[in-house]
Assembly symmetry: C2
């Protein structure tokens, strides 16, 4: 709970620098009470100039520790994030903290607004599954840290930001799944979904970059798919990667296109639930059976996968553990431990069921 | 934004009554800044005695309108609530308000804590899918209203509380689904899940009461099942209702028990996703096929239901509309409209697919 630096700037020094009263500076920097937009701007600029950073101790002395952490996720309608939030709030609860959640629907502008709300609500720290893909689009996260609010990333890393991130090893998980398909004799393996770009990149590097520009996890999963192909000397075919809008309807269309190729895929690797249900609908429309005709592995296990006919082989993400680990890392930071920009990587599990069968002989 | 009453008690009158300074009373009642626990207690007791109620206008003048609404849901890992929250936050967003969400895991104690957090965070209003089943267990909700924070219920009504609630017509939805099964010739129809009590109630009224004591929606859905049986003169058989823990694993066990009866069900009505996947696993274990051997209708449509073999006939809930409607009702209350304790009922849709087949001839 102590600052690492000797004699950091105080609120009074910020007030002098800004030419405002101490209480105005305190209200602005503590995020409570009313301050006019102009004065607020002046105080924040002054704080920035002299390198003022609130810390948990200062905040606790001025306004009481809030005992609340904030969570910002991309999409609460996705059960994956529901599970992560459950893990976070269980861990916070054990430490006597409450958890408030804001969903951004994958919109960066809503994420910026959400960050400001949590700063205003004086949360002790923020865990975020960000839509920002690089440091340039993550200035709002820097802003929270400038308010002395620690930030930990979950599910998605942001390269170049130097923040702790709790993630799964997406690349290894994807590689393992595709290796499983290759071991069953498959060499034509469709990848659903790929980058959401209108035109199909022809080169591997362009394909990976386009995927990663959409989402860090997308780039990692595509990279894992390519790793597995490389190891077996299977030549990459850009036409076996879905491109375009990441929706179930578009996955249906793209898998339909792949199945109509003269050399169609004999297996599919689906990186999201909607990619999987879209693929299954495409197989049904083409009157192809899972396993018997086309093998399939999906990401994000669900109880539905166990009652499919046949039951589906799936990658299971440790949703709860991602959440509890992120909360642990956050609480360490709230208590004053410096962020070292570490990637905390949790293992996934490939749950073998019956959707992978030997490839048909050519 | 104006109070309906003439000359309501002011913050200054509360301060005089409590024997504290006006700023202490304002900080306590406005929920900002530091106030010692003892003074806080005195101010709140004084406010209670003289009938002080903060209103949105007063809060906006003293501390700025927060432009934030709070949402408390039972379980964020359930995609149903994810959809409802999405509807709420979209509607709030359009009005320039942010939405913070707290999940309670169906624990009343966590719900009470969540309500206090939202009061402390000075939200403009609260939407809650409450675990409270009657007015006696909902004193925390009364407390929020006493702080001048409007509350609207969503998904679940609380009888006797006089609060607006935005719900689906659970009873009509269940009745429609069971009527559909009866129309196909089924007369032995299993109900999954029923009341979470260890001992099976034998009488209809006890069964309904036990279900409603667990959750308002559970009671309504069981009532709808009985309505449909009554209309066709089908005698209620308590052994066709699942009792005990509401988990997938227990649904598997209870449906297994039903299927082993000398007069087993030829159809199942499943009121939750986990009830449905548990039932499907029981059918698989008994080597019975959906539709061909046992017909089935589930609650809460999902894209998974469309890719099952056969695709499942499901009740679709208007999740987004529940959320947007709840937000509309809440904003009307925030702007000063009195709650009339209305039940705002939205329609569901029975989506016919292929899991209902004619009952086998006896």
């Amino acid at each position: 709970m102590t600052s690492e630096r000797s004699a950091p700037p105080t609120i009074s020094e910020v007030a002098i620098e800004a030419g405002v009263g101490r209480s105005t500076a305190a209200r602005t920097l503590g995020g409570y009470g009313y301050v006019s937009p102009e004065l607020r701007e002046r105080v924040l600029a002054a704080a920035d100039r002299i390198g003022y950073r609130a810390n948990a101790l200062a905040r606790s002395m001025s306004t009481g520790v809030s005992h609340t952490i904030g969570v910002i996720v991309a999409d609460l309608a996705n059960p994956f994030f529901g599970g992560v939030v459950r893990g976070i709030s269980d861990a916070a609860h054990e430490r006597g903290s409450d958890t408030v959640v804001i969903s951004t629907n994958e919109h960066l502008s809503e994420e910026v607004a959400a960050t400001n709300v949590l700063i205003d609500k004086r949360v002790d720290g923020i865990i975020i599954a960000s839509a920002a893909v690089d440091a340039a689009s993550a200035t709002h996260i820097e802003q929270a840290r400038d308010h002395g609010i620690p930030v930990v990333l979950v599910d998605r890393a942001i390269p170049g930001l130097g923040l702790d991130a709790v993630v799964i090893d997406n690349r290894a998980a994807a590689r393992g799944a595709v290796e499983r398909l290759i071991a069953a004799g498959h060499r034509r393996i469709g990848f659903v979904w790929g980058p959401p770009v209108p035109e199909r990149p022809r080169r591997r590097r362009e394909m990976i970059d386009a995927a990663a520009r959409s989402l860090w996890t997308d780039g990692e999963r595509l990279q894992g798919y390519l790793d597995a192909l490389d190891d077996e000397g299977i030549v990459f075919d850009a036409d076996l990667v879905m491109v375009g809008e990441k929706t179930e309807a578009h996955a249906l269309q793209e898998v339909g296109r792949m199945l109509a190729m003269t050399d169609p895929p004999t297996a599919l690797f689906c990186t999201e639930t909607d990619a999987l249900t879209g693929s299954l609908r495409a197989l049904r429309e083409a009157r192809l059976r899972v396993a018997a005709d086309v093998s399939l592995i999906g990401f994000d296990d669900s109880s539905w996968a166990t009652v499919m006919e046949p039951p589906l082989t799936m990658i299971e993400q440790p949703m709860l553990a991602l959440g509890t680990r992120a909360a642990e890392v956050l609480f360490a930071a709230v208590e004053g431990q410096d962020s070292r920009g570490e990637l905390h990587t949790l293992d996934t599990r490939l749950i073998e069921r019956e959707s992978v069968a030997p490839a048909p002989r050519l």
